[in-house]
Amino acid sequence: MKRLLPFLLLALGLALPFILTAMGQEYYISFASRVLVVALAASALNLILGYGGLVSFGHAAYFGAGAYTAALLAGKGAGLPAQLLVGTGVAALLAFVFGWAALRTRGVYFIMITLALAQMLYYLAVSSDSLGGEDGLRISRAALWGDLTLGDDRAMYYTALTALTLGLFVIWRVVHSRFGEVVQAARDNETRTAALGYPVRRYQLVNFVIGGALAGLAGVLMTQISGFTNPSLLSWQQSGQFMMMVILGGVGTFWAGLLGTAVLLGLEEYLGEVTERWPLFVGLILLGVMLFAPKGLGSLGTLFGRKKKEVVE
């Protein structure tokens, strides 16, 4: 079952637009694209936060950097491949610089410096005319093939699905590689990992850059989905939301990004239709999960089993 899960999910993903069309709910295809793209960014954060153990509170920076790069390039008439390539590259470079600075510190300082560096980018976007200020930048959707553009919901959906599938594949390979072992070891016991001869910080930085790059990739696609980009993509609330998703999905478990994003965006969408007070309920649910099931929704079932074990230790 566990081996089959990725393929079942992929099959479901491939079939989803047809299912939604059959149900007469085509509106949700675009929503599903958004889930897939945000899930890619959240999975990238899971690589940094869940597997690397680094509480990065500025993940929106890399997501937004990808989005803004794509928008600027689109404005100059560049096509999708160029946007993807440069957007990912810019986010990676940014993650390298920010990560390098932040990794000089640990613990609370690390959380705060990642947050502050991302805020810096946010204010840069808000106050810079060439980045569109508060309004952000509009783009026209990139062409795919002939007359087909990403303005087409299905074309966008399958592009997003491809990106998420590739992204998750990359993350899977990285996590299970030698490199991934060292990164996880550093999370569990940093001192010992250094004492085993691994220059911990270098591994953490590379991992940070991989996560940043994937978030940038997601950002490029986000611009294509919405047709514009604005400073809220860079905001600290956005960073907080990414963290929320990873935690809800079960930090450090492979599907955390996808599960958490689907649950949180689904919840927002559903509550948004029912009540305008939806943030209240999102807040209450998040607080409940943090207090009673901090390992994420997936751990709810095993809550009691786990408690027992903790007592023994």
Binding site: S177, R178, F179, V182, D188, R192, A195, G197, Y198, V206
Partner: protein
């Protein structure tokens, strides 16, 4: 100092470490080389663990130098010193409790062959790693526990795993910080045996309170009191040194 002898020695030269007003290490000169056990003893709070931290690179010295095989490594970090053949164990066992013994050891031997900046090949496919891990488990007597999560190990077995992790890099010098602490009699006997085997092919700096173990293992003993080495010599000489007896052995180790 830079004679032929120092080519394969771990040397502390006038090593000092201050924490605020507290001088935890004062002018320590120490030399560990060749094969065998060099024991470092001293009452609680004498600064033994601080000295291990200075030698291993966990702490930078306030002044003085650490030489490793003739090279000044005072400003080299821990991984850098591991690469130059120095490794350590921890007084408070430092392992990866959530991982199996096998995975613990596989991680530790990864560094032996090539770089760990390999992003694509699944590590579970690397049979060589697991074979080497099994060899080390055999060496420390953990073969039967390879598949157990490290958190399930007994205290003694954790100590063995801690030693095994330190051995994985094939160090020329091994710093052992109280490997016998908290062990039962039988476990202690096994650990003494293990240390003897380890010291058969490398230099061990052993910090230990168990005097029977120290005097049965060591070729040389140094005594650390208030951050200073007050005596160094053969176990016999140390046992009979009146100053050592007064400062340390006097209380409950009159023998």
């Amino acid at each position: 100092m830079a004679g032929i002898q120092s080519q394969s020695a771990l040397v502390a030269e006038n090593l000092c470490k201050n924490f605020g007003a507290l001088a935890a290490t004062q002018n320590v000169n120490l030399r560990v080389e060749g094969k065998g056990v060099h024991a470092l003893i001293g009452p609680n709070g004498a600064g033994k663990t601080t000295l291990v931290n200075l030698l291993s690179g966990a702490l930078p010295p306030s002044s003085g130098r650490v030489l490793l095989s003739g090279q000044d490594v005072s400003r080299v970090d821990m991984p850098g010193r591991v690469a130059r053949g120095l490794s350590r164990t921890y007084q408070i066992t430092s392992i990866y409790p959530e991982w199996t013994v096998w995975r613990n050891l596989a991680l530790s031997v990864q560094g032996r062959s090539g770089t760990s900046m390999r992003f694509w090949q699944p590590v579970t496919g690397e049979r060589a790693l697991y074979r080497q891990a099994a060899e080390i488990a055999e060496e420390v007597g953990l073969t039967s526990r390879l598949n157990a999560p490290a958190s399930d190990l007994s205290h003694g077995e954790r100590k063995q795993l801690d030693v095994a992790l330190a051995l994985a890099s094939n160090p020329k010098f091994l710093l052992m910080d109280e490997p016998m602490a908290g062990l039962g009699h039988e476990e202690s006997v096994r650990m003494v045996d293990l240390i003897r085997r380890i010291a058969g092919i490398r230099a061990v700096l052993l910090i230990e309170h168990d005097m029977d173990a120290v005097f049965s293992l060591a070729n040389e003993v140094s005594v650390l009191v208030y951050g200073q080495i007050i005596a160094s010599g053969t176990p016999e000489a140390i046992k009979n040194d009146p100053e050592v007896q007064r400062a340390y052995l006097g209380d409950d180790h009159a023998a």
